[in-house]
């Protein structure tokens, strides 16, 4: 699951925000009503669904969807939730991956989990929050950190560090002066308040990111192997608990087209797509969840991110093959007037969905209360259907059934497209303009001038204005952080066991050759980890691209994925998770294809790590410097 809103869908919906759905006769659009009014027009196109997709929904349901169902399908079948354009390519990560017995959870889970000792595992993942960070840099970046931290938490891990690969437009552009301080402030504000050391990242400037800054955030967490959690809503009769912040109208821009007729244009504005983060609530949520895991109180757990309750309910039920009944009236609301589809679509932050056995409910509520976190039973797991068929998700609101769907149809069986790909027309020209043809500095003065220009360039200059806003020491296990090429943290104080992490990417290389560009990003991160003395074990990635509907972009994407998958196969380490961010595009201009690759390695004893700087020579005559490689 990702928290990346789909730009195209958002733009669509704004344009037609005033479409009214049929007559509303006061009550909600129920399943019964939907069955009785098959011809009612529905604004599926405005919600970003194609006609054939809408037809498929009607087929799945055997009737038209209710308003709430339509909202749910539009979210779950969107690019960012369904991976409909990327799925066919991402499969290579699994197919080409070397076998590994260390992988406890892989692609498809909230984050990949890698065993690094008999009883210790780590989990890590990088995710994007690009578009929200452009709209509201501070909150967008802050909630980006919040979102990836919950992914890690959902695996059963205590989050222990974050990293933040960033891309901005030109350093001297006035909008960069708005975006950059906000993004850095948001990442620091959220991460520092959670007590997560920031152990590395990137700051890169390029005009291609002017309208589409990239805010990727990586989180790594640690868990005892036997505390691994999963999202399956197993066990009919178990209780569905919503824990954390109240639900408000955050981030429901995408479904605001479903406004009821009673909303006037003024309340129309009261539909922020900006989410505000509350790191304090998240910190409490982390502590409460970890206590519940340790006490074995939860059967399944899922974070709420981009698609809110819709995603969490359908994914947990689908993962177990069970059904679920949910009473939306029990969801604690920040704004009492919310309609059911708004509750289902809300992207309010700092929430988790828990599946607990009935006799554990009291303990769960007590633990939550002790940490000052709201926890509410909102539903129940129901048995699978007869003949091994999966169960159904039914959702009621004020006594009416507003949703009755097979959860797998939303979570797993979304549309899949093999989009057309075409090599960008300008690529040949770009590639022909080779570095060899550039003028070379020939005199010492030229060399000096070139060197000075390079040192002063924003992409190479000192990054401490950024990194000084991040806490690197909290938790007391940071062994290497800025300005090192890889971050190293200690996991086990007694043995010295630790991990090294690096995130790297180069959009300019990828623009010239996405296949090699992705491989180079992987190689760089791999090297950065290896030179600390760590053994690289696993890969995560965030693929930032333009519109998948543009065959040239899709070609870049396909090539980059192929390159990364091949590179991983050659190096013998698996991709364990990641995230795709499409539509990083201003008008027809896409950003450079920017695959960001994170590599995690393990060190048996962090005291043996090799830092980047040359230490004071141990011998009077000085140490010898070698250059390895070609």
């Amino acid at each position: 699951m990702t928290t990346e809103p789909q730009v195209a869908a958002e733009e669509n919906s704004e344009a037609v925000a005033n479409v009214v759905v049929g007559e509303f006769d006061g009550g909600p659009d129920t399943v019964q009503r939907a069955a009785a009014t098959p011809d009612e027009l529905q604004p599926y196109a405005e919600l970003g669904l194609r006609t054939d997709e809408y037809e498929r929904i009607r087929e799945v349901l055997g009737r038209r969807p209710t308003q709430s169902e339509l909202a749910m399908y539009s979210i779950m079948w969107s690019e960012h939730c369904s991976y409909k354009s990327s799925k066919v390519h991402l499969r290579q990560f699994g197919e080409k991956a070397p076998p590994s017995d260390r992988l406890l959870a892989g692609i498809g889970e909230n984050a990949g989990v890698i065993q690094i000792a008999d009883d210790i595992a780590v989990t890590f993942k990088v995710e994007s929050h690009n578009h929200p960070s452009y709209v509201e840099p501070y909150q967008g970046a802050a909630t980006g950190v919040g979102g990836i931290v919950r992914d890690i938490l959902a695996m059963g891990a205590r989050p222990v560090a974050v990293m933040d690969p960033l891309r901005f437009g030109a350093a001297d552009h006035e909008d960069t002066a708005r975006v950059l301080p906000g993004v850095v402030g948001g990442i620091g504000g959220y991460g520092n308040s959670l007590g997560l050391p920031n152990i590395g990242g990137e700051v890169v400037f390029d005009p291609c990111y002017q309208g589409n800054p990239l805010v990727n955030a990586l989180c790594v967490g640690v868990l005892p192997v036997d505390r691994l959690q999963n999202k399956a809503a197993a066990g009919p009769g178990n209780i569905v608990v919503l824990m954390g912040a109240k639900t408000g109208r955050d981030g429901i821009g995408g479904v605001s087209v479903l406004a009821s007729a009673t909303f006037d244009s003024e309340s129309e504005q009261r539909r922020p797509s900006v989410q505000v983060g509350d790191p304090f609530m998240e910190k409490l949520l982390i502590e409460a969840c970890l206590e519940l895991y340790d006490d074995r109180r939860v059967v399944g757990i899922q974070d709420l991110g981009g698609a809110g309750l819709t995603c969490a309910l359908t994914e947990t039920a689908a993962a177990a093959g069970t059904g679920m009944t949910v009473e939306l009236d029990h969801v604690p609301l920040r704004e009492p007037s919310m309609a059911p589809h708004e509750i289902l679509a809300s992207e309010s932050q700092e929430r988790m969905l828990l599946i607990v056995e009935p006799h554990q409910l009291e303990f769960v509520l007590k633990t939550a209360a002790r940490w000052g976190v709201l926890a509410t039973a909102i539903g129940e797991v129901t048995p699978p259907g007869p003949d091994g068929l999966p169960g159904r998700l039914t959702i009621t609101w004020q006594g009416h059934t507003v949703v009755d769907v097979p959860p797998g149809s939303l979570a797993d069986d979304g549309p899949v497209y093999a989009r057309p790909v075409r090599e960008p027309a300008d690529l040949i020209l770009l590639q022909a303009d080779r570095a060899e043809t550039l003028p070379r500095p020939s005199t010492p003065e030229d060399v000096r001038a070139t060197l000075l220009r390079m040192i002063a360039s924003p992409n190479l200059c000192d990054k401490s204005w950024v990194t000084e806003q991040y806490d690197r020491y909290v938790l007391g296990n940071t062994v290497l952080a800025q300005p090192e090429d890889a971050g190293v943290i200690r996991i086990d104080e007694s043995s010295g066991l630790g991990v090294a992490l690096s995130v790297d990417g180069n959009g300019r290389y990828a623009r010239l050759d996405p296949y090699s560009g992705a491989k180079l990003a992987l190689a760089e991160a791999y090297r950065n980890v290896a030179v600390t003395g760590a053994k690289p074990l696993a890969v995560t990635n965030c693929l930032n691209f333009g519109s998948p509907e543009d065959p040239a972009v899709m070609w870049q994407f396909a090539e980059a994925v192929r390159g990364l998958a091949d590179g991983c196969a050659e190096l013998g380490i698996p991709v364990t998770g990641g995230n795709v961010s499409f539509y990083n595009q201003t008008g027809a201009a896409a950003i450079h294809p920017t695959p960001i690759v994170g590599v995690l390695g393990v060190l048996d004893d962090v005291a043996q790590r090799v830092p980047m700087g040359f230490p004071k020579p141990a011998h009077a005559e000085g140490d010898i410097i070698f250059l390895l490689g070609e």
Binding site: A245, D250, V274, F280
Partner: protein, 91 residues
């Protein structure tokens, strides 16, 4: 001396973690009848000459409030400091 006061508050539908944290601390002070706390900013702008509302509105719009998440309102206040404003001085 007269100043323009700009009050900037989060839009009502936007989560206000600050206000929420204060609200939930109140019971510990023995206060149980507060239903909500919202926290925003108060900005006092002093002009060299007459307080200029239009100017202040422009400043608020461009610099003081973040229109994505905040609303603002402004008014002219008399007196040296907040305490001596008749309308605000029950303290």
């Amino acid at each position: 001396m007269a100043r323009v006061v700009v009050d900037v508050m989060l839009k009502p539908e936007i989560l206000d973690p600050q206000g929420q944290a204060v609200a939930s601390a109140l019971p510990r002070l023995g206060v149980d009848d507060v239903t909500s706390v919202r926290i925003g900013r108060r900005i006092e702008i002093e002009f060299a000459g007459e307080p200029d509302l239009d100017r202040a509105r422009e400043i608020a719009d461009k610099l003081l409030a973040n229109p994505v998440i905040e609303d603002f309102a402004l008014h002219i206040a008399e007196g040296d400091s907040q305490e001596s404003q008749p309308a605000e001085a029950p303290a």
